[in-house]
């Protein structure tokens, strides 16, 4: 068995003295692990950092084997994140989200979205917008997509500002007014592109929304909770982006 694919390093675990097991989000083979000979050495360690784009060649005798990776660095973004706290926390959170996917299950759309996020991860507001949208997309990929197109009560497509925490469907301002304190807020940037940059408050509302459904539908059934890196990312973004 042999294939070559491009991917993004999600994590590396040392294996013995000199080798490492790399976890890579590949385009066509999904989240895939493989043994990298010399992966713990000084030549490959800068390449095998989470967030780096790599080209990997995987070889194994049988498909179900762990197999060996040969790794070539394509875009070494990780070094640029080392001094930026929100970027590192965001990267750790993104990698934790990707680990929700089953191994070897292709998700080329998520790979592409992850690649785009890594390009904006250095800027806190842009990173927060991209990660909030990515969480929505992740929910959809895992089968728990939210319906944010029409109002659950009236069917209108206008002025959707709430989301029902039970059904995950959007609710218009007029229909949701009586239950305002029980509904989740739907910031506009989550459903459409806008010239106006979202405020810190809108970012917090977006993460409250995605966090609720990630916890309830994905993490709690698996006996886990939202990763601590997510809270650290949000705290770092809140320090950098004004609330209003």
């Amino acid at each position: 068995m042999e294939w070559t694919d491009e991917g993004i390093v999600l994590g590396v675990r040392r294996h013995g003295e000199a080798n490492a097991i790399a976890e890579v989000m590949t385009v066509e083979h999904g989240r895939h692990l493989g043994l990298v000979r010399g992966g713990a050495g000084s030549r490959l360690r800068p390449i095998l950092q989470p967030g780096n784009a790599v080209r990997v060649t995987w070889r194994a005798r049988l498909d179900e084997h762990l197999g060996h990776y040969t790794v070539e660095g394509l875009q070494l973004s990780a070094a640029a994140f080392l001094s930026v706290p929100h970027a590192l926390y965001g990267l750790a959170h993104l990698c934790a989200l990707m680990r929700l996917l089953p191994e070897r299950d292709p998700h080329p759309g998520l790979h592409a979205a992850l690649s785009r996020i890594l390009e904006t991860l250095g800027e806190p507001r842009a990173a927060a917008v991209a990660i909030a949208r990515f969480e929505l997309r992740m929910l959809a990929e895992l089968g728990f997509g939210l319906d944010l197109e029409t109002c659950a009560a009236t069917g209108t497509r206008e002025d959707l500002v709430y989301v029902s925490p039970k059904s995950g469907r959007a609710v218009s301002r007029a229909a949701g007014a009586p239950w305002e304190d029980k509904l989740l807020r739907l910031p506009a940037f989550l459903v459409r592109e806008s010239e106006r940059a979202p405020s810190g408050e809108e970012l917090a509302q977006a993460f409250a929304l995605t966090g609720h459904f990630l916890s309830r539908n994905v993490l709690e059934p698996r006996g886990t909770s939202l990763p601590p890196e997510r809270a650290q990312f949000l705290a770092a973004v809140a320090r950098a982006v004004p609330a209003a």
């Binding site: 994590g11 590396v12 976890e23 950092q49 994140f81 706290p85 926390y89």
Partner: protein, 201 residues
């Protein structure tokens, strides 16, 4: 199954030696043979040294270093600058810094770095003890001497966040061109960091 060529005691010795870092089964056999041939000169003193080490070596209750005394030699040394704490991931890093002789301060050994893939969280490291130490009035600076990896620097930022209300200056090691390093062979990340952190000449 291959036939045993030696008694169980020798096979056991080889198995144990093969667990040491840098030794595989083949080199463990060579080491075992060497020890057996040099019973009096090497094997007996080594066995005695191992026995003493097993009995006396412990983890320092202050910094997490390993030593035959507790508090360790570093913590007990009154000549060291107690206002500076150098935070390292592992005892091997402490030894490396001591070999360099670049800093004459106290240390704190975390016991690793945060690593979601390996399931290492803050509760698995000695971060709480570090925060307590950093709040002592005599401490003025905490140097985060952690690896220039994503895991190492995530740990560094996490600790920095926790030390915000402590009255200390938090610093970290510079990233850049190593001594003897040739630019042509350096990775793009190191070069970019070196350019960003350039200093007046």
């Amino acid at each position: 199954m291959p036939k045993a060529v030696a008694g169980p005691e020798i096979e056991r010795l080889i198995q144990l030696l093969a667990r040491l870092p840098g030794l595989g089964p083949r080199s463990a056999r060579r080491a075992a043979l060497f020890l057996i041939k040099k019973r009096e000169q090497v094997m007996a003193p080594l066995a005695a040294a191992l026995e003493v080490a097993l009995e006396k070596i412990s983890v320092c209750r202050i910094c997490g270093n390993i030593d035959s005394q507790n508090p360790c030699t570093v913590c007990a040394d009154p000549r060291r600058d107690g206002s500076v704490i150098v935070v390292v991931a592992d005892v091997a890093d402490l030894w490396a810094l001591e070999r360099a002789g670049a800093v004459d301060a106290k240390y704190h050994v975390l016991g690793g770095t945060l690593s979601p893939l390996d399931g290492v969280g803050p509760q698995d490291l000695t971060i709480d003890a570090l925060v307590t130490r950093a709040h002592a009035p005599e401490v003025k600076e905490v140097i985060l001497a952690l690896n220039a990896t994503v895991d190492g620097q995530t740990t560094a930022h996490y600790i920095t966040d926790l030390l915000q209300d402590a009255n200390v200056t938090v610093t970290r090691l510079a990233h850049g061109v190593p001594v003897g390093g040739e630019l042509e062979y350096l990775d793009e990340g190191t070069l970019a960091a070196a350019i960003r952190q350039r200093t007046p000449f």
